[in-house]
């Protein structure tokens, strides 16, 4: 009998634990299946086209403010009064007179709390007017005495968004409910009413677009015990992310642009090894906590060729300020040592040369949220895999940095499978290295007629190493790289490395020399690792931009114009 009682007591606990576990698994699946903005198709709708046309029209106007429509005569007069006042329009243009995107979000009878009681006059009517600047995220709030046409209150609020007007609410619902990816997730074509919060029937779910700093709202669709969040970016008129959550307390209370990005990247790329088979290659890749996107156990035609390649550090120094710079790790967005972190998953795309697909590319981007403002950074890692067995390890800075006197030095760790010998071209013949050492590729370094500088010999042949001297059609100005070769050791970079070197040395002391000095070891048939540290100088001169980015106001909102500086060697196989 006591056993029966014991089991009866345990049942609720077992049920609770299994429900809890089910909820955790379900939450993890929801995260993995979520979609980040660029993965979501664009919604096609006449309402969106009308909105774009309206924005274009007002961005060409002397007063770049989209007015509110369907107003009473008195409200129209109030709006006209506001749109003629320079103080009300203070933030509608930048300091060069270029138009920002602005819109009147609301004109309401003022509430008692809106007016200073000392100024209140009950013989007149007061209206509260709300103007929103999409670029600066500034709300201009005014209270107007409609009888005497004067302001009784006018103030500006940073990082503040008033309630959106009905027209934008309908637009957000249209963008979400007519989107193919949303429909596919739901399994049905939702009605407009399905997008509203069930408890209010009128409001859209609140959300944030913390990375783009755009105005975003979240039409949310309920299906059974789950909710599908569709974050709509009302500046770009696109969906910034889609994610399922559990309804109730087991799900997050707020889904935002950043949370969708960070959770998805972490679940799918930081916590998992991804496998890709394409064009005779098999590549395993994942995001690390401090060494960027690492490719491991790579095969070509079923033969192992690469053990591990990763980007350990970015060193950035500024020549006009001694010792000033940064030594940054790149990697996962949270629970990592990254100073510049991944804001989107890696992408795989075709590698096209002279209009032919010659292989594929894996790209990974990292950024600081404030980019492209000064002292914020954006980096790209790129691995190129060619159908003929070549591969290229590259990276680029996309600005902007803390000045136009910046020098960038990315540190690659390249471990080929069974790499046993290393040779350097001296102009006439290949000279074998017998122990750990480093060398610098300069403008006078002799190259073979094919532009090769090194060879790495493996059990199955090996690779020629062709440094970048601007020959790869990517507008690069060359690598000028330090190359180091060390014996492969577990505690010398096989696991995640903390920052390996300081920001601002201009000589060979970029970090890998630690594994060579003070006593370089003879190779003695041990497996070898190559470290490659190119150097790039940024350039902000008009028409010559390099490692640079500019914010440009286009149609009332800022977009980034980028000038990447790609560096990195090509590896060419030989038998």
């Amino acid at each position: 009998m006591k056993y029966v009682k014991f089991i009866a007591l345990c049942i609720p606990l077992i049920l609770f634990l299994s429900l809890s576990l089910t909820a955790q698994i379900s939450n993890k699946e929801d995260i993995e299946n979520s979609k980040i903005g660029y993965q979501v198709s664009e919604t096609k709708s006449p309402l969106i086209d009308q909105r774009k046309a309206k924005v274009n029209f007002y961005m060409q106007s002397p007063i770049p403010v989209i007015p509110l429509e369907n107003l009473s005569n008195e409200e129209k007069l109030v709006q006209d009064f506001c749109l003629k006042d320079p103080n009300f329009l203070k933030f509608t243009k930048d300091n060069k007179g270029q138009n920002y995107l602005n819109e009147i979000f609301g004109i309401y009878p003022a509430r008692p709390g809106d007016i200073n009681p000392k100024l209140f006059n009950d013989s007149t009517k007061y209206y509260r007017v709300e103007l929103f600047n999409f670029v600066l995220n500034i709300s201009t709030i005014a209270v107007v005495d409609a009888k005497n046409m004067k302001f009784v209150y006018l103030n500006y609020y940073e990082s503040s968004q008033p309630d959106i007007p009905l027209s934008l609410k309908e637009l957000a619902i249209e963008i979400a409910s007519k989107n193919k990816d949303v429909i596919a997730e739901l399994g049905f074509n939702p009605d407009k009413k399905d997008a509203l919060m069930p408890n209010t029937k009128t409001s859209l779910n609140k959300t944030r677009c913390e990375r783009s700093h755009h105005l975003c709202v979240a039409p949310t669709f309920i299906k059974n015990d789950k909710a599908l969040w569709a974050i709509v970016d009302l500046t770009d008129l696109k969906i910034a992310g889609i994610r399922w959550t559990n309804v109730g307390t087991t799900g997050p209370s707020l889904v935002t642009e950043r949370s969708i990005q960070d959770d998805k990247i972490t679940a799918c790329y930081c916590e998992k090894l991804n496998n890709l088979k394409k064009d005779n290659w098999e590549v395993n890749y994942h995001l690390t906590t401090s060494d960027g996107l690492e490719i491991v156990d790579v095969k070509y035609n079923n033969l192992p060729v690469i053990k591990s390649i990763k980007l350990v550090d970015w060193h950035v120094s500024y020549s006009s300020t001694d010792g000033f710079g940064y030594s940054d790790a790149i990697g996962c967005p949270f629970f990592s040592q990254a100073a510049v972190y991944a804001n989107q998953p890696p992408t795989v795309s075709d590698l096209v040369l002279n209009d032919k697909i010659v292989g594929f590319v894996i790209d990974q981007q990292y950024f600081n949220p404030g980019w492209p403002l000064p002292c914020n950074y954006n980096y790209v890692q790129r691995y190129e895999f060619y159908k003929d067995g070549r591969f290229r390890v590259t990276t680029a800075s996309i600005g902007r940095g803390c000045g136009n006197d910046g020098t960038y030095r990315p540190v690659f760790r390249i471990a080929l499978q069974n790499a046993k010998e290393f040779e350097e071209w001296d102009g006439n013949q290949w000279i074998k290295w017998n122990s750990e050492k480093w060398t610098l590729q300069s403008e006078t370094s002799p190259l073979t007629k094919e532009n090769y500088l090194y060879t790495i010999k493996t059990n199955n042949g090996g690779y020629f190493v062709e440094p970048n001297i601007g020959q790869f059609n990517d507008k690069s100005r060359g690598d000028n790289a330090y190359t180091y070769v060390t014996i492969s050791k577990q505690d010398e970079g096989e696991n995640n490395l903390i920052t390996i070197g300081p920001c601002c040395n201009s000589d060979y002391r970029q970090g890998p020399e630690k594994f060579i000095e003070p006593t370089p070891e003879p190779f003695d048939n041990n497996e070898l690792v190559m470290w490659y540290v190119p150097k790039m100088r940024n350039d902000d001169r008009k028409g010559n931009e390099y490692c640079w980015a500019e914010s440009v106001l286009k149609n009332g909102v800022y977009t980034a114009e980028v000038y990447p500086c790609f560096v990195g060697p090509m590896f060419i196989p030989f038998k």
Binding site: S159, L254, F334, Q337, A338, N368, G370, N496
Partner: protein
């Protein structure tokens, strides 16, 4: 004489106030005056732009420019540093805090608490809190905040060393200020900002958490040891431009009886952001209804 003056000011204030901060007895270091600095227009700082370590900075009389800086060699020896507290004698305490990378702040030293001697101004290691992991991949951080409790003779320190993505392994320690013994600890709690307050004679430790936007409270006995478990007493979720900031610093202001909360976007990474994403909010305790309300 100046101490009598201080007591004459403090006692009526404490007697009339039902809420006051637990570090009421703290004192600024004696070396400030010895080095020719005036505390009423000087400040200690560990967050000078592009500068490592601790600085004492004196501003001009009109507060418009920096007049001079004090920065002996030992103040740079521990790398980048975090917030500061003072004890009843005037010793200053601070802790290792990595900034952008780990070159000057290796993870094995991020549980270090340093002391700046009240008389000599020398910075030295005061206490290394236990490091319970060798794996710093997912989390290079250690000590996150400290506070001083006069009555309990305790220095409290929150540390998240050893905490991982799916394991909250942080601790909050009560450290005896004289013996440096670890008197008590809260386990499996990734504490952030700390502050001791007394409400109607009962002391409690207020704490932020690095994983959420909640403000927690735990009761203290007269020796500074913990009673019970942390409970949520307020939340800053959805407050401010980011909506999920963490509570980095807590200061109770005895003059206006408000709690100032400095918030920060924190995601267990070393993200280098030029304009630190932080906000400041104030809350006040409603004695009648026993709850905290925002002061706008």
């Amino acid at each position: 004489m100046k101490y009598l003056y201080f007591l004459l000011l403090l006692i009526p204030n404490l007697a009339s106030s039902q809420i006051y901060s637990g570090n009421f007895c703290f004192k600024y270091p004696n070396f400030v005056q010895k080095e020719g600095y005036e505390m009423n227009r000087s400040a200690f700082s560990t967050s000078e732009n592009r500068q490592k370590g601790l600085y004492l900075i004196q501003y001009s009389l009109d507060r418009k420019k920096i007049e001079k800086k004090f920065h002996p060699n030992s103040w740079e020896s521990a790398g980048y540093l975090g917030g500061m507290i003072y004890d009843r004698i005037g010793n200053l305490y601070t802790f290792s805090a990595p900034h952008v990378n780990l070159i000057d702040n290796p993870p094995t030293k991020n549980n270090n608490i340093y002391i700046v001697d009240n008389q000599t101004a020398e910075l030295s290691l005061w206490k290394q809190l236990p490091i319970t992991t060798k794996d710093f991949d997912e989390n290079p951080f250690g000590v996150m905040a400290m506070t001083y409790f006069c009555t309990g003779n305790c220095i409290y320190a929150s540390t998240i060393s050893g905490s991982k993505r799916y394991e909250e392994n942080g601790k909050v320690y009560c450290i005896d200020e004289k013996t440096k013994e670890l008197k008590d600890s809260i386990q499996n709690f990734d504490g952030f900002g700390l502050c001791v307050i007394s409400i109607n004679g009962k002391f409690s430790l207020l704490m932020g958490n690095c994983r959420n936007s909640n403000l927690y409270s735990i009761d203290l006995n007269e020796n500074g040891k913990f009673i019970g478990k942390p409970t949520v007493i307020y939340s800053i979720e959805n407050v401010g431009p980011r909506g999920d900031d963490k509570i980095r610093k807590l200061v109770y202001n005895n003059k206006d009886n408000t709690l100032t909360i400095n918030t920060l976007e924190f995601n267990y990474n070393l993200a280098a952001i030029l304009n630190r994403p932080e906000s400041v909010i104030k809350i006040k305790y409603d004695l009648a209804n026993k709850k905290w309300d925002r002061v706008l």
